[in-house]
Amino acid sequence: MNKTKLKGGIFNRVSDTNLLLSITVVIFILMYLGAIIFLGSGFKKPQMLFNILNANAALIITACGMSLVMISGSIDISVGGVVALVSMCCAVYLDVNHHNGNVYVSMLIALGIGLAFGIIQGLLVAYLNIQPFIVTLAGMFFARGMTTIVSTAPFNVKNQAFDKLKLTRINVPGMGSYNKKGLYIPAYVEIGVLVALAVVVILFLVLRYTRLGRAFYAVGGNQQSALMLGVNVKRTKFLSHVFCGLLAGLGGYVYFLHVGSGAASHATGMEMNAIASSIIGGTMLTGGVGNVVGTLFGVLSLSTIQNIVSSAGLDQAWWTGITIAAMLCIFLLIQSIVIRQRKRALKR
């Protein structure tokens, strides 16, 4: 991590990671408060936040994997394709009309597909020194193509055990609301959200307190000096890709659990959303700077702004794309300016 402690203002005393993280958190809170004040209605209920979480649990998981790869200075754009492939394979395996498989085996299939992608891409990137962009681009093409080869027609899954798992809702105590008739409706989250939050916590601890986590930052910050510090650069890069692939597999299963169907068009553009949320969360593509908690807030900010746009009456499809891009642009400019200012301060 870039801990550049200097005497002077608070601005110079915080590390790059924490500074970018706090910017994101503050902007997210301001945005949500603004939505509550100016738009009211849906945003006043806590269930709105939980709905955002329910819909984006898979994105949180894959974006965490993306942050991990980006922190170690690489990139993986195959995650969207892997998510689609995983949900299609699990759908075909589980459906009564196809294989009528076991739910637990389907989880293993999901993780296995993700792991396979991670290992192959990691080998090519870390040990053969091929550009990560090209490798994972091919990975994306392959995953998308395989999805249509497995099955072209989209279909809903019918499987008793799976339906039970899919409809499991965990009530959050004290967060419910009353409807017009005075009935109490409990607030709930789906299983995927718990998985996503667990992933965030575990990755946060791993990145902060373990040798491997430190190695990710070191390799991303400066390969040469990481090598001199005795870090196994190639293995670290390889592992970052393996983790990202595994998380993409897990994210794919969570996505599948949320939508309950298989289709070739699933998770289109998810890789770009994952990259965007990582950046908004303060991870820098140059590597060495970033935090998974920031990524969580990145995903939340991204989907909150989508909700704001649609509930503010700008429901034409194009406004979502334009606002996300504008937000991305603003965050990138903030990052660029902040980093430049700090470099100047350091030189003095």
Binding site: Q131, I134, G145, L332, I337
Partner: protein
């Protein structure tokens, strides 16, 4: 002597793309010799046209070839790639249709001459390029991330320009750019590519831009110390790519005389980057060879056409493409080449040793 010649050939930048082209041609020749047949027929309007798989490749590879020219320059100068070209094609195409049709989506007559619409599209494309270029060169954001902004917004902006309507151009002349001019049997797109290539060649020949671009890509700091303005060079590369995008969008829109915002030029950015990589150019910037990239673009189209011929579904195409790309990239990776050549020398040494013991 013979050995060094072989080495010279295999280490040439054009070796891998030419080998790929050769292999593809051989496969097609074995499976179906009629692949190379070119016939002269007439189309629906009674014009003489050439048809055949080779013509298809030349015709449909042209957008990619034009984009590959610009992408090579951007890659060389900035060490990154522009992933917004597909979305920018949607924007420029939409702007072109807006000028051609005005506010009416089913006009009887053109609201403006085609040349005006094309110039507007060029300006819009250059503005998009300048936006990307400014983010990359002035704000020092990595190209892939900076262009992610237009990638996400592009198709939405394109839909916004025409209020999400799909105007149809009434004038049959507009279709000439993506089809055939009456009386000329060769697709117009081929001429457009030739013009683009000649213009680029002239620019590179009579200015220092090519040299400057490479030096900025190799070492930005030292080229600034030598009096080159890296910001300017990067900007110019992106603006030039914007111009290429405008030309490509003219062809794309002209093929159908209308536009579909979410589908037009989908995934073309990936193909354009692949074309640059296939041509043997380093994706991290520096030296470049534009002709190799153009060749790479046609190889990708060759591959696509070959796969279509084998009745591969258009959706499943990507999987086969990915396998080919991975094989190509692995074999052209310096590390693999090194170990292969080491293997050869080891074998040779062994043979020599054996000879000595005998």
């Amino acid at each position: 002597m013979n050995k060094s010649l072989l080495k010279k050939i295999t280490s040439n930048q054009l070796f891998i793309p030419l080998l790929a082209l050769f292999l593809l041609a051989i496969i097609n020749l074995i499976v179906d010799p009629s692949f190379f047949k070119v016939t002269l027929g007439t189309n629906n309007e009674g014009n003489p046209v050439l048809s055949g798989y080779l013509i298809t490749i030349l015709d449909y590879g042209s957008e990619l070839a034009i984009l590959a020219i610009g992408m090579t320059l951007v890659t060389s100068a900035s060490g990154g790639q522009d992933i917004s070209v597909g979305a920018t094609i949607a924007i420029t195409g939409s702007a072109m249709l807006r000028v051609l049709c005005g506010s009416n989506t089913r006009p009887e007559q053109l609201a403006a001459p085609i040349i005006v619409a094309f110039l507007v599209a060029c300006i819009v494309g250059m503005l998009c390029g300048a936006f990307n270029g400014a983010l990359v060169s002035i704000f020092k954001i990595q190209p892939m991330i900076a262009t992610l902004i237009l990638f996400t917004a592009g198709r939405s902006i394109a839909a916004w320009i025409n209020n999400n309507e799909l105007p149809i151009v009434p004038d049959p002349k507009f279709k000439y750019f993506g089809g055939f001019i009456p009386g000329i049997p060769i697709p117009t797109t081929v001429f457009i590519v030739i013009i683009c290539v000649i213009v680029t060649a002239l620019i590179l020949k009579f200015t220092n831009l090519g040299l400057y671009t490479q030096s900025v890509g190799i070492n930005e700091k030292s080229s600034r110390l030598n009096g080159i303005n890296p910001t300017m060079i990067k900007m110019l590369a992106f603006i030039f790519l914007g111009l290429c995008v405008a030309v490509a969008s003219l062809i794309k829109v002209s093929r159908l005389a209308t536009i579909n915002y979410s589908v037009i030029a989908k995934d073309i950015e990936m193909d354009a980057i692949l074309a640059v990589a296939l041509g043997g150019n380093s994706l991290s910037g520096g030296k470049f060879n534009i002709w190799a990239s153009v060749l790479g673009a046609y190889i990708i189209q060759f591959l696509t056409t070959t796969l279509y011929k084998f009745n591969v579904q258009s959706d499943a195409l990507a999987a086969y493409k990915a396998v080919v790309v991975i094989l190509l990239v692995v074999f052209s990776a310096p590390k693999v080449r090194e170990s292969l050549s080491r293997l050869k020398t080891k074998k040779a040494l062994k043979a020599v040793n054996k000879g000595e013991t005998k």
